[in-house]
Symmetry: C2
Subunit: 387 residues, 2 copies
């Protein structure tokens, strides 16, 4: 590339920024590196905003809810925090009160409501969610005929060697993310593919297919019909909420599972199907598994619960017959962090299972309702499945 | 779901927003719908920011570079624009001078530098990039051994029926996006998968595999080694730029192509390999194809060019022997919009090819250096490949 060509490309980028986006984004003069993770686990965050009055770092791991950043002479705001415990954390910048992603960072949190970037602080030895030099599986975006004529999308992990192992069949783990998450969140934030790659490479997990559906098919129907999306977090009455939960279950059982079993080399029986989920996805997991005892033997509930009232009323048959229930379910896992706002309700659910003599494995950890905890729970449960 | 459970979930979402992200994001009270595309092709954009002084809509298709929005009594800023010509457009909000994505919209533009959301205005009949009720291919995220011990990632489209057609082999189109784009941009912004699905369903395109590599392996190496990323858009001297272009080519030819041909059912000869790209990816396309005449027969250059100086010096053999060159390349496509800042240079390149008697197909359209144009160019060139 000649020097004049380089200058044209530089010019190009500036012009693209102006013409394509036509925003008040500052000119691209100084090249901002953010986040910069140092060897001592400290992290420097930077944000270019010469005319901003105040820029803060927002995130739960950086000392305070929001930490003030300072501006240098060319208008780059920065702060160095830490050392931070190795993990992957969401963060944002709060620029004159407006929450924004880090424009210099391509790692982001797929979500329908908030926008956050992700910072990955590596461990001294690679963590279980890190990309390591081991055989890698593939993550596939599939499109399938979903409820009410809509086209659904689902993300599917196939283990290393899947495409080379003609004839071999695999068990399937259906893994559902939370409210306002998308079908991408377990991949992009949960690093589910790298967790599976690493556990399989260590001989700890049975090679399996992981299917990550979208938890809110009602919103997708509205989107494809170009209707206003129904509010998924406020203003719901209970009938609407039950319809919605049922719609997810219908889509999973009638559309997703048949699509997967038609298009992938799956083992098609209840002992080779697991279901798990986080938050709303944990509730969907319990409801779907308890309503479809012919479909799943392995249940993983992360940071979620069902109320004793719902258990008594909707799953009476299961509750009243623990011998059969304990035969049916090879694993009923419930885990939650002791700082999770669902902690008390989840402990109440665990106590309920205990009182009703329903076999389960429970785990109380530190931490809150976070993807840091979810990754840990996935890494702890995947080795238990299909064994 | 009981009413009290709903309230807990509502509470949950608010608490997640506060605890996980700990930002100044406004409380989730009013449910914001944005963007809302109306039947008459007008679009309403909304952004909740009760304490902002000024919110504007940024984008190139909405009348002006930035359009002022107005605030209602509960703090939702909104504007209705249009009617807008059906297409997919990037846009942002400019909140007190800070450019942000639309937090209510999950469709975004993967990019290393800027953050933009995407609005899809449907046509009276579905456009070529729209999801239609036709058989769908699959989009796969693959991880492969890349340059300098790094792990590369590449996005791969396989056509409908690929997984059911054991034994059948396919030609491959290598498709490279632009500066600061990622390996996801041709999928997420370019809708390359739906364009292929639709062209194949209409019988216009040969079923093919499309491989979308990342254009900047030097940045990936730095990231994986936890080194500061090298500046990819400014401050490059020409030696650095050539090293960088060469590194991409090395990665593509030595790592990506062998990985794809090992793991997919490909037809492995130059007549069954095409290469194309946009902007920087268009330059990489021309350089890689001209330096590896044994590898590719089909070349698609979108909104990019090489200078006569570079052609004369680096590709003298090709230029001096047009008979052989015209035999080698079954397609050399160059297209550009007449508002593109690369328009004049690209026309100069087309004139150069003409003067040197090198066969090519050129297309001058309206529009600028945009993904609206790129999608059109992909849709126009894919039917020409492998025929």
């Amino acid at each position: 590339m000649t020097s004049s060509l380089i200058q044209r490309f530089v010019f190009a980028v500036i012009v693209i920024s102006c013409s394509l986006h036509a925003t008040a984004q500052p000119p691209r003069g100084p090249f901002v590196i953010s986040p910069q993770v140092h060897a001592d686990k400290k992290v420097t965050f930077r944000y270019l905003a010469p005319s901003a009055k105040e820029v803060k770092l927002g995130g739960s791991q950086f000392g305070a809810a929001q930490v003030a950043m300072t501006k240098d002479s060319i208008g780059i705001w920065s702060i160095t925090v830490g050392p931070i415990k190795p993990d992957i954390y969401p963060y944002s910048f709060v620029v004159d009160g407006v929450t924004v992603m880090d424009p210099a960072n391509v790692s982001f949190f797929p979500n329908e409501r908030f926008k956050a970037s992700l910072v990955d602080i590596p461990g001294e030895t690679p963590l279980i969610h890190s990309i390591k030099n081991v055989p890698h599986g593939t993550v596939k975006y599939e499109y399938y005929p979903s409820v009410e004529g809509s086209t659904g999308s689902v993300v599917v992990y196939t283990p290393p060697g899947y495409d080379q192992s003609a004839g071999k069949t695999y068990p399937v783990f259906y893994l559902i993310s939370g409210t306002t998450d998308t079908e991408e969140t377990f991949f992009k934030v949960g690093n589910s593919n790298f967790i599976l790659d690493n556990l399989i490479a260590e001989g700890k997990a049975t090679p399996m297919i992981v299917v990550m559906p979208y938890g809110n098919p009602m919103a997708r129907i509205a989107e494809q019909k170009k209707q206003p999306k129904p509010a998924d977090i406020v203003g719901r009455d209970s009938e609407d909420a039950i319809t919605r939960a049922k719609l997810f279950e219908t889509d999973l059982v009638n559309n997703v599972i048949p699509y997967i079993e038609k298009n992938y080399r799956t083992i098609n029986n209840r002992n080779s199907r697991a279901i798990g989920g986080f938050s709303r996805g944990g509730g969907q997991t319990l409801r779907t598994a308890f309503s479809n005892t012919d479909k799943f033997s392995w249940i993983c509930c992360y940071s979620a619960y069902l109320s004793p009232q719902e258990m008594d009323s909707r799953y009476k048959k299961l509750v009243d017959n623990p011998t059969q229930t304990n035969k049916d379910f090879k694993l009923l896992w419930v885990s939650v962090g002791n700082e999770d706002f669902l902690y008390k309700s989840t402990v109440e659910f665990i106590d309920y299972l205990k009182a009703k003599n329903i076999n389960h494995k429970s785990l109380i950890t530190g931490g809150g309702h976070t993807w840091m905890n979810v990754k840990d729970y996935v890494a702890q449960t995947v080795p238990l499945l299909f064994k």
